[in-house]
Symmetry: C2
DNA sequence: CGCCCGATTTGACATCGATCAAACCGGGCG
DNA sequence: CGCCCGGTTTGATCGATGTCAAATCGGGCG
């Protein structure tokens, strides 16, 4: 985190306030959270923090995508979560431990709001609005991580890809067109696949009416996808 | 949940108080939580709740083991977590949604403390001690579920088994003897393996000095296990 | 507008773990 | 003490996905 930061300005405060995390806060609780936010910009591939470092802060993504991952002894990496604009990450360490349990890397140029762990911990211990916001964020993350486990254990690669497409499909039936918000690389990691496996999954979905051109995915029949 | 319940008695209150979840509570917060606890007994294989049902309560295990799992469209099941005595489960729905997102089944005869979702939600919104206990529980569960994802994606079956053994090993070096707290069946599901795969993993660990006789596991060299 | 580099796809292969079937074991009950 | 059934192990096979290498694509920059 060797980068200049500044206190959140009006625009950034607006972004933060619209975030699911801070959305429900009002008055003093909101003001104190916004006041404590420091905004950083980081270039693609930069590490926000690394596993094992003291967990001094957690973050909210303002722009870009952040990858949470862990590295195994033999150097392979596994993604745990891809954080989109509006997502909070590492908030599980406010009351969950002294050190980061995974690394966080900017998947592209990103803008982040940084919250001091200690400050927010204290705030949460005296303000139930803040505590509630944290509980809601934690619950959501826990549920989606459980989904991730189940998906890994129950579904094949094409099924997981179909699932992803369906979830970000604007319509529930008929045809649709989706533009991936990031590189296929990232998507592969997010689904627990090697890039090659993602590619093969896409091509196996061709028979179900899925067409891929760069980042643009054409879905011929959403219903059919759900049957995969 | 077709079973008689009763308010927690002295012994059960003692058990609950020693639980990581309620451990840090004192005074009024503790009293109100204990007062709201209802204790149920359930026979092996009974469902505590099923995915999709309205999430009216969450639970703390007093005795026995509870299996959290989800069922896929084609009927296969994937375990999400095995809850041991002292564990809380479904607390992620206090602020996380209206319906259960997975099913819970008694893996053997169990005794459970039931907490009303609405009551605790209200309590958490006014009492920061309770909120803190919930945040701590959620954080712990989130971190261990992340561990689970990483394990699934990074480690082979023998590695996951070795990991499990190491984590519940009393000593960090030398030899050790472990008694599994439940059937291998459950362990397999917990590690995301078919029972046959668990069995094979154990037998592949024989060359590393691991001996299996029923539920008793002999570890010849803990250090060696860590190298797997 | 074309080049160029990194991202993606394709191919060939090895490995892991699921599945089905059958043999085996062990603990609880009569 | 032995039977019996459910749980566990073993064997055989198959499908899915990781890995490595090579070909191809595509988007951004000059």
């Amino acid at each position: 985190m060797l980068d200049k930061s500044h206190k959140a300005n009006i625009r950034e405060r607006g972004l933060l306030t619209k975030t699911p995390f801070l959305h429900s806060l009002t008055g003093n609780a909101l003001a104190r959270m916004l006041d404590s936010a420091h905004v950083y910009s980081m270039p693609a591939r930069a590490n926000v923090f690394r596993e094992g470092e003291p967990a001094l802060a957690f973050y909210c993504v303002l722009a870009g995508y952040v990858r949470l991952y862990r590295v195994s002894r033999d150097g392979r990496q596994a993604d745990i979560r891809i954080c989109a604009p509006g997502d909070v990450f590492a908030e599980c360490l406010i009351f969950g431990g002294e050190k980061y349990r995974f690394s966080a890397q900017a998947a592209e140029n990103v803008s982040l709001a940084r919250f001091d762990m200690r400050d927010v911990r204290e705030l949460a211990e005296q303000d139930t609005q803040v505590a509630k916001a944290i509980m809601t964020a934690l619950s959501g993350h826990l549920l989606s991580t459980m989904d991730c486990v189940v998906n890994d254990r129950l579904h094949t690669a094409p099924q997981r890809v179909a699932d992803y497409l369906i979830n970000r499909c604007p319509t529930a039936t008929g045809t649709a067109s989706i533009r991936l918000p990031f590189q296929k690389n990232l998507l592969a990691g997010m689904l627990g696949l090697a890039p090659e496996a993602l590619s093969r999954a896409f091509s196996s979905l061709r028979r179900t009416g899925v067409t891929v051109r760069g980042r643009v995915i054409q879905i011929g029949d959403v219903e059919a996808l759900k049957q995969i």
